[in-house]
């Protein structure tokens, strides 16, 4: 059941998801509308971090269904701010599974960026420009 109320519902309480979608659209716009190839790679990076932000927000229990007052998954012991003072065995962790998945995604994204930049350098050697329209123009002149 979706809570449509403005204050505590899906609009304010889930603002991390909205910001994530906004960043995703900013990156997507840069990938489509910008003519410079390096700008497209920057848009790709923004898109990727938006998806990582979404997954990390899923793992964070404040936004999820586990309630407030979570700690890092590596922290062991007491939770002094829990209801009724110090609780010995009541530690609520952030979900570590999305963290591990996104750790892999960051490294894969860095490798993807490196391959894209190598291709950009090769295209600059071939065409003398990294603007998309000028490259298409030169290809038309060459009759490719």
């Amino acid at each position: 059941m979706i809570d449509w109320s403005f204050g505590g519902g899906i609009f304010i309480a889930k603002y991390n998801y909205w910001i994530s979608i906004l960043l995703m659209l900013i990156g997507f716009y840069a990938m489509i509308a910008k003519g410079n190839l390096l700008k497209k790679v920057i848009g790709l990076n923004i898109f990727q971090t938006a998806i990582i932000l979404f997954f990390v927000s899923l793992g964070d229990a404040t936004l999820g269904s586990w309630g407030k007052g979570v700690t890092e998954p590596i922290v062991k012991g007491t939770l002094p701010w829990a209801a009724g003072g110090i609780v010995e065995h009541g530690v609520v962790y952030a979900n570590p599974l999305p963290h591990v998945l996104m750790l892999t995604a960051i490294v894969v994204g860095a490798a993807t960026t490196a391959v894209a930049l190598a291709l950009i350098i090769r295209m600059y050697e071939e065409y003398g420009t990294i603007e998309e329209e000028e490259i298409i123009e030169k290809e038309r002149e060459l009759g490719v």
Binding site: A30, L38, K39, T49, V56, D60, T62
Partner: protein, 81 residues
């Protein structure tokens, strides 16, 4: 998650992302992308995801910025849009 800190950081995140794709000087765009990576690393740490935070700071802000500056040194600095 500290909600006021989260809101401030996310606001700056959107601002820096828009600046990084609209600026014409490509070196400025790359440095803004590095700043974006540092801010989002802070967001991860503040959401109790410390491992993702320091990997993003090392790989995203460090390595990718260095790769992009190295690629820019072999191409042109000005962008048309």
């Amino acid at each position: 998650m500290i909600i006021p800190l989260d809101l401030i950081l996310l606001f700056f995140l959107v601002l820096i992302a828009i600046a990084a794709i609209s600026v014409r000087d490509l070196l400025a765009a790359i440095i803004l992308l590095g700043a974006y990576s540092f801010v989002i690393a802070t967001v991860y740490v503040e959401m109790h995801s410390v491992d993702v935070g320091f990997t993003e700071a090392a790989v995203g802000a460090g390595a990718i910025t260095a790769f992009m500056i190295a690629a820019l040194a072999r191409t042109k600095r000005e962008a048309s849009d």
